[in-house]
């Protein structure tokens, strides 16, 4: 009778479902009684605030899924660090509870019960990151009109957050001291510093390419609504690094605490997982991908531009992601062009271009079409005049007083920004070099240009038009002496 009973006990104890149910119940208790949910909520709120601020300050009125996705992912630097510090505090204080004897006498192997702490760390990381991501994605879904979130970028952020959380747990478990959270902070910061510096754009991969911050570098030219590219190998490297950190963080402390052969083997495999590819990357043995190699091959072919025609019969066509700006852009472009409408080189069509160009160097395709490039930093007040003037002025010509005069006069009429806005410091992040290269004597120069504009404004529209028609070619090539102004 006894023998039968023992035999049954052994079989039933080895059943996986029973083990899983038990582990699930333990995890539920652990989650319910974590005790640090308020700090977790604070970390999430800080992450949400930071992400919100990041998106708000770097975008114009157009919000792109790439911006949202990237800023959510990069918030892992904050929320991941927060989770790591919290988890190291938790694991360290748990280690000081004098409860080891009780745990060691239990039938469930000690490494299994320790695994609960790592499962908790993963839950905390996922919860915090999901709050940040959920909040921002929900808010973005109301204003972003085109495309879809960049899921691989978001997953990279999640993996990084969980990795930092696991790392903090490992530190707290190995060193259950009150200073464990500070050690975690230092460790995470070191990882951050080692990988966050700006990497070179060409050549082979380096350790620095393992950082999520590379996504920021890639964002304008790779993660653009014009391209099909959803990720690069740099991003996959980043995810791999995060998974490797998580694996090592979980296995090394368990192997160290419980001295189990299988755990030691697992920890060794985890370390190799981390070290071998790390050596490949650190040794620069793999060519890197970058924005320049990505974009040429991946322009989306099926984008249907949205277009609108204004009062001066100038048509403006934008990528649908910028549709919310179409009306404003059309009004602005038509207002800008009205006084010079029909003159040589004045475009009748303004088309948004996927290619990022040096400001002022855009080419008119057939003399009637201007290209405008807009990205997350672009303001229409800068971009529209730049595109139109690039079309009007012959390509490759350096700017003269005549160019500046015309640009300033058209800008003032249409409420856009002209050369004097730049010289007065009202420059945007993407200040056209051609418009800033106006010498050192800004004040006197500005005064001179302004006096010319004021003088020209005293003429009637008919007189202005007549003078422009008469001197248009000289204005375009910059050869006119402005003292000839009426």
């Amino acid at each position: 009778m006894n023998a039968t009973s023992i035999s049954f006990s052994r079989v039933s104890s080895g059943m996986i479902p029973s083990d899983l149910v038990r582990f699930g119940q333990l995890l539920l208790i652990t989650l319910r009684r974590f005790g640090l949910w308020i700090p977790v909520a604070i970390v999430a709120i800080v992450g949400i605030a930071w992400t919100h601020y990041g998106i708000g300050t770097t975008s114009t009125s157009v919000v792109l899924w790439s911006d949202i996705s990237i800023y959510i992912a990069i918030s892992s630097a904050i929320v991941g660090t927060g989770c790591g510090v919290l988890m190291s505090f938790y694991a360290a204080s748990r280690g000081r509870r004098n409860i080891d004897d009780l745990l060691d006498s239990a039938a469930m192997p000690g490494w299994k019960s320790d695994t609960l702490t790592f499962a908790l760390a993963a839950c905390v990381g996922v919860t915090v990151y999901s709050l940040v991501a959920g909040w921002n994605l929900l808010a973005a879904s109301r204003v972003v009109s085109w495309g879809a979130p960049y899921w691989v970028i978001l997953i990279a952020g999640l993996a990084t957050t969980v990795a930092y959380s696991m790392l903090g747990t490992a530190i707290g478990m190995i060193w259950p001291h009150r200073l464990a959270p500070f050690l975690t902070l230092i460790t995470v910061t070191l990882i951050f510093v080692a990988t966050a510096a700006q990497p070179g754009w060409h050549g082979n991969t380096t350790v620095r390419d393992l950082s999520l911050w590379n996504v920021l570098l890639d964002q304008q030219d790779v993660y653009s609504p014009w391209y099909a590219t959803r990720w690069t190998t740099n991003l996959l490297d980043c995810i791999w690094l995060a998974i490797a950190i998580s694996a090592v963080s979980a296995t090394v402390p368990l192997a160290w605490r419980h001295r189990e052969r299988s755990l030691l083997i697992a920890a060794g495999v985890g370390l190799l997982t981390l070290l071998i590819p790390f050596a490949i990357v650190a040794g620069g043995l793999r060519p890197k991908t970058n924005q320049w190699t990505n974009m040429e091959h991946s322009i989306l072919a099926d984008i249907e531009l949205v277009c609108s025609v204004g009062t001066a019969n100038v048509e403006v066509c934008l990528h649908p992601a910028w549709e919310s700006e179409l009306d404003r852009a059309t009004i602005m472009a038509n207002d800008f062009i009205t006084p010079v409408q029909g003159l040589t080189g004045v475009p009748t069509l303004i088309v948004q271009s996927p290619v990022r160009r040096g400001p002022g160097s855009g080419e008119a395709v057939d003399g009637m079409e201007a290209r405008i490039h807009l990205d997350r930093y672009s303001h229409l007040e800068f971009a529209i005049p730049d595109a139109i003037l690039s079309s009007i002025y012959p390509e490759g010509q350096s700017w003269t007083d005549a160019h500046n005069f015309l640009a300033q006069w058209l800008a003032e009429r249409s409420g856009t920004y002209g050369p004097m806005h730049y010289s007065m410091g009202e420059v945007g992040p993407e200040t056209p070099l051609s418009m800033t290269d106006i010498g050192e004597q800004h004040d006197s120069y500005d005064a001179r240009i302004q006096s010319l504009v004021d003088r020209f404004n005293t003429l009637t529209p008919q007189q202005q038009r007549a003078w422009l028609e008469a001197h248009w070619d000289q204005l375009r090539d910059g050869s006119i002496d402005l003292d000839q102004l009426p």
Partner: protein
Amino acid sequence: MEVVNTALNVDLRDVRHSFGRTEVLHHIDMTASTGVTGLLGPNGAGKTTLLRILATVLKPKAGTVSLLGKDARNRHDLREIRRDIGYLPQQFGYYPNFTVFEFVEYFALLKEMDPGMVRPAVVQAIERVGLQSQARTKMKTLSGGMVRRVGIAQAIVNEPALLLLDEPTVGLDPEQRVLFRGLLRDMADHSTVFVSTHLVEDVATACNHVVVMGDGRIVYRGTPDELMTAGNETTDAAGDSAMERGYSAALASGRAVAS
């Protein structure tokens, strides 16, 4: 008809242990079947070390440990043994945010009880230590005596065949101590219970056997009545009661043999 388990649940042979160069257990031989064994001895006598070995928390440096008919050195047997052990350590740490119920439930699951049996077993264990009205109270709000009773509840939740209690009555008020002795007597019917204590009245009222330890050796083993008789027969040993005098005499003779 009640079946009494007379198997040797504890069988220690020539067990020795040391911490560094300090030998804390010398050639311990001990057997026990069902019933309550009181471990008496001064501080540093080796009681806690012995209980930790019995709880499989500590591996002895030498000797063999057979528990519940299985070899504690065997990895598979060890897990089987631990499923049937209840242990209250001397230093009883706890998770402050857990409720009483959750704490006992947590350890029931760690003892690999059948998940379906856990809930009723936890309810019963909490009732047996008289904490049913505090079941939903967080551990951090409990008094020291109540925490100790939670420790006892987690130790008995799996109806262990081997129950090891290291100074379980510390912090308990007199009423609770009486209730605890009743609990020990109940457990004695089907379990092998070891209770380490400094209180001879606990041994006198609740134990079937008594083991006195001194300087890492067993210096006396017998029944409480025999120890009391020995106390009555001696006049020069310290103590207010017969059992205290018997205990003092046992320690003194042990020291004499060791020297």
